[in-house]
């Protein structure tokens, strides 16, 4: 059996542990203006109503961690990111996943954040390894490593395993322990390649077998371009959890998604007395009646 590695992240008040022996830790994806034009407009105007609403709703729905992305075209990303962290931290108590490709924004956010943040992300690209990993070390954060390198997205599973290894080794060299690395094997859209789902699932299996690390994935992307996305996302997530996915970045506000995750956790023996599932069921029934 592969070893179990536990990743811990925290906010000021709350600690979240991620491991294959625990229920799936959902990283809520909604606080991200990419492709959300209304949210972009609000953020540009300094309006944070949607952010607050999304943060609270995701946590109520079961998100253990919230991804926070401030990438609005033409906006001052470092400043906006700080603002978002402050606002989300004020209305919820979960740890945050700081999602930025801007090193200056990342450093500012890590300095400001209270607790042990998760960072989204580093890749196997040379300049990313050199700029992001030292910040992770300096601020004692955990980081998501995307299996991409200077040659782009790998076409084979072996290459993804190799890049994950490169990130893990490089991190180890500067003193970042393996439990602070979460690998993202990149789930591409099955809408543009009908083999992409299987490839992603096989990659999760291979990474877990090889390194034992925790694995994340942006799981909403798999259904891009195909109708009834929620059902696909749900089925894919359940299968990925069986393969070793422990902390998907997804939308817990989609009922199908949440259902699939909770049912998968129960099926994997990670829901004692089925209590999470039953609580969720009662909540749904109550909502139906009202």
């Amino acid at each position: 059996m592969t070893q179990i590695i536990t990743t811990t992240v925290s906010s000021k008040d709350k600690e979240v542990k991620i491991s294959r022996e625990l229920p799936t830790a959902i990283i809520g994806e909604r606080i991200n203006p990419t492709g959300r034009k209304k949210l972009q407009k609000e953020l540009k105007e300094g309006i944070f109503d949607t952010v607050k609403k999304d943060a609270i709703a995701q946590v109520e729905a079961g998100a253990a961690i919230l991804d926070v992305n401030a990438g609005v075209p033409g906006a001052d990303e470092p400043a906006l990111l700080l603002k978002l962290i402050e606002i989300v931290g004020a209305v919820t108590d979960v740890p945050l996943c700081i999602d930025t490709a801007n090193p200056r924004a990342l450093e500012g956010a890590l300095k400001f954040y209270k607790g042990k943040a998760l960072v989204n992300s580093v890749t196997g690209e040379k300049d990313k390894l050199e700029t992001v990993l030292p910040l992770i070390k300096q601020y004692g954060a955990a980081v998501i490593g995307l299996t991409i390198d200077d040659d782009g997205i790998p076409k084979t599973i072996d290459k993804r395993v190799e890049i994950a290894g490169k990130i893990i080794n490089r991190a180890a060299q500067i003193g970042i322990p393996i439990e602070d690395i979460i690998i993202d094997t990149l789930a591409m859209s099955m809408g543009s390649d009908d083999q992409a789902g299987k490839m992603a699932l096989d990659a999760v299996t291979a990474i877990v077998e090889t390194y034992g690390v925790n694995v994340t994935m942006g799981c909403s992307n798999v259904s891009f371009g195909i109708p009834d996305r929620e059902s696909i996302n749900g089925a894919f997530l359940a299968m990925a959890i069986r393969c070793g996915l422990t902390c998907p970045i997804t939308n817990p506000l989609q009922e199908e998604v949440l259902k699939a995750i909770l049912a998968a956790d129960l099926s994997m023996g990670r829901d004692e007395y089925a209590s999470r599932w039953i609580t969720f069921y009662r909540k749904r029934m109550k909502k139906l009646k009202s």
């Binding site: 203006p33 990419t34 492709g35 034009k37 972009q40 990438g71 609005v72 075209p73 033409g74 990303e77 490709a101 801007n102 991409i148 782009g152 997205i153 859209s189 809408g191 543009s192 009908d194 891009f224 371009g225 195909i226 109708p227």
Partner: protein
């Protein structure tokens, strides 16, 4: 739904085998490759773009039609002469900007442009501005440059490419269209692009307008 000729319908259905069969039959009956392409196949692909725009068709179906198109094009292209007498809507150089590896949207636009009769030089993803310039220089006359970006940080690459066009003295004969989820009309205007579109079918209309402007 409107009635289409059998070949057009086969393209719309993405039935690669049937498209090839009909093309072969028609060629035996002395149909010209040019007419098969312009009168039957391209209208099929344009309709696919329209169906996608209307939310009727999904990405895998567009890809299936594009594949059916490609199969028949391989057969037709050698017969179309050396390209000289082939009517073209225009020449497009397309790519996802440096630092960005998203390609679904860019590929869809490239496919629909090809389907609509444009010649397309697809430079792929994470394309350095120097590579763009080189590809544009290699072609005389009016050329469209299509730039795609899906993540916000790489949007900033778009004005850099436009600036590089100016420096290379190419801006006058190159029409720039930009696209991708974070791109807005406002952004396109701000960086001095010649246009943007809401979706892939819109990009084809835009390219046609840019060729006429």
């Amino acid at each position: 739904m409107a009635e289409f000729p059998e070949l057009t319908q086969a393209v719309i259905d993405g039935n690669a085998k049937k498209v090839l069969e009909i093309v072969n039959e028609e060629l035996k009956k002395n149909a010209t490759p040019q007419s098969l392409l312009t009168n039957y196949m391209i209208p099929g692909m344009l309709h696919v773009g329209k169906l996608m725009q209307e939310g009727e068709y999904f990405i895998p179906e567009v890809l299936r039609s594009a594949k059916a198109m490609r199969g028949a094009l391989e057969l037709l292209e050698p017969l179309l002469g050396q390209g000289a007498d082939r009517q073209s809507e225009g020449y497009v150089v397309i790519g996802t900007v440096d630092g960005d590896i998203h390609d679904i949207g860019k590929n869809l636009v490239a496919m629909l442009l090809k389907g609509a009769g444009f010649q397309v030089n697809d430079l792929g993803v994470s394309v350095k501005k120097e590579v763009c310039i080189e590809a544009l220089k290699a072609r005389e006359g009016k050329v469209i440059l299509g730039l795609s970006a899906l993540i916000t940080p790489t949007l900033e690459e778009m004005p850099i490419v436009i600036e590089a066009l100016k420096e290379a003295g190419l801006r006058d004969r190159i029409k720039v269209m930009v696209g991708g989820a974070p791109v807005t009309q406002e952004f396109a205007d701000e960086i001095g692009a010649d246009g943007t579109a809401e979706d892939a079918a819109g990009a084809v209309d835009l390219a046609k307008r840019l060729m006429q402007s």
